[in-house]
């Protein structure tokens, strides 16, 4: 309900299926580690949820360096899912996260369907884990990763397999590097995904004109940041009209207005990624700004923004 200009209390809660967030602002996987590094800047219990970095079954060394390159209003990364493996993650990161009153969504990586399943099965046993975000869209690993996110068949297969081993809410993170993202979204919805996250990074490349070498040791990497926001907003809008499960929108969010744009396009929650690097307090600014935006316009519930774009 909209009360013009009034000085109301804004209901900031949003619901993604059975998950309830105190506000729509979550962290984008891989940009916030498990939150510990941001604890000096962010009150974790003021986030909608923490989405952790991707975890695979075994420890993974990631890609050679250099792993990042700056581009116009964006950055490329090819971190390559470096992580200590799900066991170490459950031992070290989850207990730390458990002290905060915040939903924990664990980002799941795999180099094969079996690996996704094994990671999900391990996480299933941990009560600190509130939901899984299955990353079928990482452009930075040779096997698996993005390959699973670029065909309906593979996306459906991973979703089905993980769905079989988890009763937790299952979010599938989609790749933007596809001809038609709505068809992938529908495929994972059909296999029981409870929500989709989009977008992961766009596959990109930069070459150093002094050395003639790619700026990333691996050649290609994932483009993120404000540069990709128009692509992300478009995909959220397309997917919102193609599926009926909720969307976590991301790609270049730096301000509350950016978050509003994603919500108007159809996102029920938004994730801040690269913005954390630029300003470690970005998530907090977005939470506060979103509330101020609603209050200033007499919007009593932030969820009223979801999909409200007018044509």
């Amino acid at each position: 309900m909209t009360i013009e200009g009034s000085d109301i209390n804004v209901d900031m809660r949003v619901r993604l299926g059975t998950l309830e967030f105190r506000n729509p602002v979550v962290t984008a996987s891989g940009t916030f580690a498990s939150g510990r590094e941001y604890a000096d800047f962010v009150d974790l219990s003021r986030l909608g949820a923490v989405v952790t970095k991707g975890v695979s079954l075994n420890a993974w060394p990631g890609n050679p360096s250099p792993r990042i390159a700056e581009t116009a209003s964006g950055m490329l990364n090819s971190i390559g899912l470096q992580n200590p493996g799900v066991e170490a993650f459950c031992e070290k990161d989850l207990p730390w996260l458990a002290q905060y009153d915040v939903p924990v969504i664990v980002n799941v990586s795999g180099h094969s369907v079996a690996e996704y399943v094994a990671v999900a099965a391990r996480l299933e046993q941990d009560l600190t884990v509130d939901a899984l975000e299955v990353n079928i869209s990482c452009p930075n690993v040779d096997e698996g990763g993005m390959a699973f996110g670029t065909t309906c068949v593979a996306a459906a297969e991973v979703t089905r397999a993980v769905r079989a081993v988890t009763v937790k809410p299952l979010i599938v993170k989609l790749s933007p590097n596809v001809t038609d993202i709505t068809e992938i979204a529908r495929a994972v919805e059909a296999e029981g995904a409870d929500a989709v996250s989009l977008i992961n990074t766009l596959l990109g490349m930069a070459i150093d004109t002094d050395t003639w070498r790619p700026k990333l040791a691996r050649g290609v990497g994932g483009l993120s940041g404000p540069a990709i926001k128009p692509v992300a907003v478009r995909m959220v809008w397309q997917v919102a009209s193609a599926v009926s499960i909720p969307i976590i929108g991301m790609g270049g969010i730096m301000t509350a207005e950016d978050a509003v744009e994603f919500m108007l396009a159809g996102a029920s929650a938004v994730a801040v990624g690269t913005g954390n690097f630029v300003d470690p307090t970005t998530t907090m600014r977005v939470v506060d700004g979103l509330e101020a935006y609603c209050r200033g316009r007499g919007i009593s519930a932030v969820k009223d923004l979801i999909g409200a774009v007018k044509f």
Binding site: A33, Y38, P66, E70, G74, R213, F277, T281
Partner: protein, 272 residues
């Protein structure tokens, strides 16, 4: 005796430019009023500076704290790309936010009586606070400083005023010995047998000095530059391969024990 500060709280501070001047060809010294960080920072630590907002480049830039005077941070910077070009254009009164103090800082081994500091070019930057701190503790400091020309011997006055001894080399012989600083270092290690060698400079130089020190059985710490997105340990962009696995230069470094670094598995140094 440790200068480790990794457990300290990281701050986000809005700093104000007090002065900004050219000190050598393509090198500037900027002084920032940043009281909270100034009082917390230890030698070898750095700040992650948001030089510009609204620019087409997004990321912060890491800079070592060269010296602290009261509430003020001194940063020596070399103008290389768009970030440092924008930094060079900042005038008194401009505001920039920074995160700091970051990194563990230099480690001073128990019982150190004599330290050799090796500065290659802008590698002098993170050695400024160190030479002052060591001198204060009564540790005898020798500085070996190398640069392409006399003019590029940044912080030379500070070293000469603070260290017991300063040895110079320049590529063109315009000051000190002609040649590379590594030749100086070879002799100084052999002659003086310092307890520890601290090195900062181009990575190729750093590697040679590390090898020289370790070959002579002398402890050695190296400060390594890596591309850094977050600066606080979250993004894994700044990894250094070590005997203990991949370490993050921003939180586990940028100073590393040279004996731990697996050089060949490590990053191709940034081109600058």
């Amino acid at each position: 005796m440790s200068m480790d500060a990794s457990t300290e709280r990281k701050l986000l501070e809005h700093a104000r430019v007090v002065s900004n001047e050219r000190v050598a060809e393509g090198v500037g010294l900027i002084v920032l009023e940043s009281p909270r960080v100034a009082h917390a920072v230890k030698p070898g630590q750095f700040v992650h500076l948001r030089i510009e907002q609204g620019a087409s480049f997004l990321l912060r830039r890491p800079f070592s704290i060269h010296r602290v005077v009261g509430d003020r941070l001194q940063i020596l910077y070399q103008v290389l790309g768009e970030g440092t070009r924008a930094l060079a254009g900042k005038e008194r009164g401009a505001e920039m936010d920074l995160i700091g103090p970051l990194g563990t800082g230099w480690f001073v081994p128990e019982g150190t009586a004599h330290a050799l500091l090796v500065a290659g070019g802008l590698g002098a930057a993170p050695l400024g606070m160190l030479v002052e701190a060591l001198a204060l503790r009564g540790i005898a400091v020798t500085v070996a400083q190398g640069a392409p020309t006399t003019e590029r011997l940044v912080a030379r006055e500070l070293f000469e005023a603070t260290a017991r001894r300063v040895e110079i080399s320049t590529d063109d012989g315009s000051a000190g010995e002609r040649g590379f600083v590594t030749a100086l270092v070879e002799r100084l290690i052999a002659a003086d047998r310092p307890d520890v060698v601290y090195v900062c400079g181009p990575e190729a130089m750093t590697r040679i000095v590390a090898r020289q020190a370790l070959a002579a059985g002398v402890a050695c710490q190296v400060s390594l530059e890596r591309l850094m997105a977050c600066g606080i340990g979250a993004c894994l962009s700044c990894v250094v391969a070590t005997v203990d696995g991949q370490k993050r230069a921003c939180v586990d470094g940028p100073a590393f024990d040279a004996a731990d670094v697996l050089w060949d598995a490590s990053e191709i140094p940034p081109k600058h």
